[in-house]
Symmetry: C2
Subunit: 385 residues, 2 copies
């Protein structure tokens, strides 16, 4: 189904049918590029809206190889594709962006910590631990209990993460028999995220540093730019993210999740090498969204202006609530606030699941925040009027 009209425009293949792929497709339409999706089911968030969908298992190398055949570049909606399969694709000559040597740092928290240590990036105190007794030993080395334990692979949105208060509580993470990383529980004043985009030829852009608020391990709210952030610390965070992107040879979007400590330092919490929840504000709040810049980057196209278009943009996630019909809540929100930018993912409503987000921009932070929070709470069903 190649069009003669854009036959000389490249094909981006995205692995994973979630909302990030959905919004990347949306951002790719004006670019005139062709977008191909590897999804699990036709009901996947992105599969609902993309024309060229291949159904298959991203853990199967043959499936990946067949999918890659028609693509000029492969990129990702998630980081769950086995690293060895990506190396095999790369050996086949497929352009995989970010490449496996970069992506492994977003796939394996043990690898990531070791790599960041090697280039002197400030991180929470951490080490791989063998058993509950070793967790206590780690605590006694200086961090003390509570300790944060993470499975090195497979965790996201609070899954695969435990905060344990003693050796007894430290037993649970080891039951699965996978490597466990211990980290100090950082005494932070808030969480920040530094989002940058880097292309294979080395061009990079930095979005304004944002403040993010997590609830139960899930991103709840993002304010762009981070309010009352010392310009020196903002610069430091952007420079740090650009340095990580360069040192790790990351292509595409990189989100660096940061802790701002009580004593005024920043420490790296997590890395994500794909469009990220902390960058959703950019769809309505920046000249070029993270989704468009991710696509431009993996295609080695010149990057777009990442600067904000409004004084403040606030993003609040819409989580699934107790009742499945969101359409009527949707009508109410639209009628109440014509300036609201709603982004729905077409997903089943399940309690706590990310099913959409709202963006609001303007000059008055309190007003912008109240509007975004109200809409998200109403869509979830937490409040009614």
């Amino acid at each position: 189904m190649t069009s003669p009209g854009n036959a000389n425009f490249p094909v981006v293949g995205m692995i994973g049918g979630g909302q990030l792929a959905r919004m990347a497709h949306q951002a790719g339409i004006p670019l005139g590029i062709r977008f191909k999706l590897l999804a699990d089911t036709p009901q996947d968030s992105a599969a609902q809206v993309v024309s060229d969908v291949v159904l298959g298992d991203y853990r199967d190398l043959d499936t990946l190889r067949r999918f890659a055949e028609g693509c000029d570049v492969i990129t990702f909606d998630h980081e769950h594709v086995p690293t060895e399969h990506l190396r095999a694709l790369q050996a086949d000559g497929v352009a995989v962006r970010p490449g496996p040597d970069a992506l492994v740092n977003a796939q394996d928290k043990g690898v990531m910590r070791a790599r960041l240590d090697s280039i002197g990036v400030p991180c929470p105190r951490h080490r791989i631990v063998a058993d509950p007794a070793d967790v206590t030993a780690f605590a006694e080395e200086g961090a003390g209990y509570p300790v944060v334990l993470k499975t090195v692979r497979g965790g996201y949105d609070g899954k695969g993460v435990w905060v344990v208060g003693d050796e007894e509580e430290a037993k649970a993470p080891f039951l699965a028999g996978v490597p466990v990383l211990a980290e100090e529980k950082v005494d932070f004043v808030r969480e920040l995220a530094a989002n940058v985009v880097r292309s294979p030829s080395g061009q990079a852009v930095a979005y304004p540093v944002v403040e993010s608020v997590q609830e139960n391990g899930v991103c709840a709210e993002v304010t762009a730019p981070a309010p009352d952030l010392d310009p020196a610390l903002s610069d430091e965070a952007q420079q740090l993210a650009l340095r990580i992107a360069g040192e790790l040879d990351i292509t595409g979007h990189l989100a660096v999740e940061l802790f701002q400590t009580r004593d005024g330092r920043i420490l790296v919490n997590e890395l994500a090498m794909r469009p990220h929840n902390s960058g959703h504000w950019s769809q309505d709040g920046a000249v070029t969204s993270q989704f468009e810049n991710h696509l431009r980057a993996v295609l080695d196209l010149p990057l777009g202006d990442p600067r904000p278009r409004a004084k403040w943009t606030v993003m609040v996630n819409v989580l699934g609530g107790d009742y499945p019909d969101m359409y009527h809540a949707f009508l109410h929100c639209m009628a109440r606030d014509p300036g609201l930018r709603i982004h729905m993912y077409g997903k089943d409503v399940k309690p706590g699941r990310k099913v959409g987000h709202v963006n609001v921009f303007g000059d008055d932070l309190d007003d912008v925040r109240e509007r975004a929070r109200h809409a998200a709470a109403y869509l979830r069903g937490t409040i009614t009027e």
Copy 2:
């Protein structure tokens, strides 16, 4: 392929696979609605990017009926669906928006002029003419030669329009044997467009009045808002468009193309009842784009804020030039101007064909205009650097 995740979200069926449907689909993704397309071929601009495409002939009633079955509302990328088919669909109980009684005013210029006359809307002097001698009679009634002749149906982008200087030249339009409308050639200082959106429940919003520049009968450039427009005349144009939308019971987007005369009046040139080239600036220049508001309107959802986000937004069409590879020009333009918003349609490059547009926004009109014009000219191949 219905998703359980948005099963209670409505299905919009759009007839026609052009760039307007492509951009409407793009605007519908965040709304979480389901979008179904009736296109001619898989290579159609919109068919390249929409998941749910039916291929078929919009002139065939059975095809239309089958397409309408899975849709909550039918709307349009173009106005070429036969009016009687739309009446038949409506008799079947299908929600057709805009409805045939409204849409006929965008399909038939003779009907439109009579209807606008009946509600006292200022138009150029006009009447249906029978033959070249009748054109001369029309000229002698007051307008004089040159006279503008238009086939009442089927014209667009300058096709089906003649400017004739005498009775000899007036012969050509009658050769096809279709009804011909004669209009005075208005002595205008510029062309304006008033874009409004109206929902079935009667809610309406008005975009800022824009200035449009045509070249060879094709829209070339739009500036939003229209520079140096007397606020009273701007209000008059918006009120006029809102009144036409109400009186004609139009649902969805209405573009009213206007002449601003040398003596300070406005006269209605054309009506379009769908997203329109004079509203493309709104994708990057308004809080809510014309495409999103058209979808909201045909679904009777509350409408979004139509206000501008920048002091000036300029849209310049990218027309096909002499060489078919636009991708390299595209790279150049992106590298030169990271703030450029490019919208490509995935269409074959043919000389003079609309294949995309660029939007640029900012505070300095001269700068914004220069950037948009340069990019469009470079993409067309008119200039190289």
